[in-house]
Amino acid sequence: MPSSFYILALFTIASGFFAMSLRNLVHCALCLALSFLGVAGLFLHLNAGFIAFAQILVYVGAVAILIVFAILLTHNTEEKKGESATNLVLSIPLSAAVAAILLNGAFSTQLALRGTGNTAPSVRELGTALMTSYVVPLEIIGVLLTVALLGAIVLALPERSSPPEAG
């Protein structure tokens, strides 16, 4: 593995670590954006340009901004409460479970390593794959996102308890 991989990996992990450990929530969000960028860099390193740019577009451009918005629009939480024991008791098994699921997914996948002969698929191949062999998951994700969008709109609609003002 070339040194660029290690630089990118170190960058990603370090910014991820700071995203967890910094005191100021906005700093954490910005570090998270940096970590997303690092992941995009890793994708680029694997010659997967499309996925890298989609990662930047979706995660840096939308998710990080969404997190920042959530931080700004919710109550100021800079003063920190001490962690209670129940929180700790709940959080350890929960995070262990999530880690187990992710690790299981990572190790059970046949990873195509770089340099093993197969080149990264072009955008055209990606599109063809998405529209033929993976069309059902794609459609399901589309329906899921639409439902989420509708749910957000329903939540955001003003309540119609009082009759609208005569204008």
Partner: protein, 393 residues
């Protein structure tokens, strides 16, 4: 190579000659530098030209003279402006977050400059050939939002924070129609590479070029793209993140001196980049509109179109008043987004209807129906209708 082709490719051959002079191990880096340096030289220069054009043009639109003191006809005004901003004191609020406050203008300018790397400026003149270059362009644009947020938040000023929130809400809302308006072009040329999109438009029937803007779906997409581009680059009439009357200057209220100049530069570079993309997608990139004009070098065509588009934005800025926040959001979600989606339908009709006349009429019909229906929906609901008052009649 004919003489015309030689003039057309003058920069390409010059670069190749220079690269050939260098020793073999330095050739890649020399090649990269020779692509970067012209971008860094040309676009800030274009920024300077645009500021004077904008000030003169706005002046003329308002029946004024515009700046005319520095140099003949005031053409050296940008030099004076630049020197002034360079010599101004850079004030930093005591409460500001030092690092983020400093980084924000940098983070704004870098994506704007990166976006220039995938635009074809002439035949064989793409700095960075990439498979997913169009996606790269939009992905890079996402960095601007983060920079705006950083600037607004780090200033520790409620006006800048409000301005940043407005700017981000606006950019997020208009990014969707912007990307969706590029989708029909991608659908019909079957590629995400700008160079391939341009060469797909580089054919002629009866001397008229096959630019996308000359087709019904392309025209509609171009209009949607222009409006979304104005909103993305915070140009008037969508410049309410920096509304002077209510939030003074929005997210760069606390910036002064060279950092302010960087913000200004970043905003205009973003405008140029998005204009360049619009030219690539809809206006045939570096190609001539008529085949008998093909003897003019391709890069001249590109920059002529770029200047024309920038002048159009200046014209719009001199004409339209700033929209209100709710009008902005209504327009984005109730007109731009559905219009872009309908337009994709029109492009699909164009793609799958075999006969040329049919293809034209069906596509145009879909676009026109969508436009009129959405326009009626916007105007009938009282959103843009006659204003009513509570007490005055």
């Amino acid at each position: 190579m004919t003489a015309v082709e030689q003039v057309d490719q003058v920069f390409v051959t010059a670069k190749r000659h220079v690269v050939d002079l260098a020793p073999l191990e330095f050739q890649p880096i020399i090649s990269v530098l020779l692509s970067i340096i012209p971008i860094l030289a040309v676009f800030p220069l274009l920024f300077a030209i645009t500021t004077i054009l904008e000030r003169k043009g706005l002046g003329r639109i308002q029946n004024r003279l515009g700046p005319n003191r520095v140099g003949p006809y005031g053409i050296l005004q940008p030099v004076a402006d630049g020197l002034k901003t360079l010599f101004k004191e850079s004030v930093q609020p005591r409460a500001a977050e030092k690092v983020i406050f400093f980084l924000a203008p940098v983070v704004l300018v870098i994506p704007a400059l990166l976006a220039f790397s995938v635009i074809p400026y002439g035949r064989n003149m793409v700095p960075l050939e990439m498979d997913a270059a169009l996606l790269f362009f939009f992905a890079v644009g996402a960095g601007t939002e983060l920079a705006v947020f950083m600037a607004g938040w780090a200033s520790r000023n409620k006006y800048s924070l409000l301005g940043a929130m407005r700017a981000i809400a606006q950019m997020l809302s208009y990014e969707i129609p912007l990307i969706l308006s590029a989708v029909p072009v991608v659908m019909l040329s079957g590629t995400l590479s700008p160079a391939a999109i341009v060469s797909a438009q580089d054919t002629y029937t009866a001397t008229i070029a096959h630019w996308n803007v000359f087709k019904p779906w392309g025209f509609a997409a171009f209009i949607v793209f222009l409006i979304a581009a104005a909103a993305e680059s915070n140009r008037s009439p969508f410049d309410l993140p920096e509304g002077e009357s209510e939030i003074i200057a929005g997210y760069y209220i606390e910036y002064s001196g060279f950092k302010f100049a960087l913000f200004f530069l970043g905003e205009y570079l973003g405008l140029f980049a998005i204009c360049g993309l619009g030219i690539t997608l809809f206006l045939g990139g570096y190609t001539a509109p008529f085949s008998f004009l093909n003897w003019i070098p391709s890069w001249i065509w590109f920059f002529t179109k770029l200047l024309a588009l920038v002048c159009f934005f200046i014209w719009v800025r001199g004409t339209m008043p700033r929209v209100r926040m709710d009008q902005l959001m209504n327009f984005a979600w109730k007109f731009m987004l559905p219009m872009a989606l309908i337009n994709i339908l029109a492009a699909a009709a164009w793609r799958f209807v075999p006969i040329l006349g049919f293809r034209w009429s069906i596509s145009a019909l879909i676009v026109a129906t969508g436009y009129f229906a959405l326009g009626e929906g916007l105007t009938q609901k009282g959103q843009y209708g006659k204003r009513t008052y509570k007490f005055a009649s």
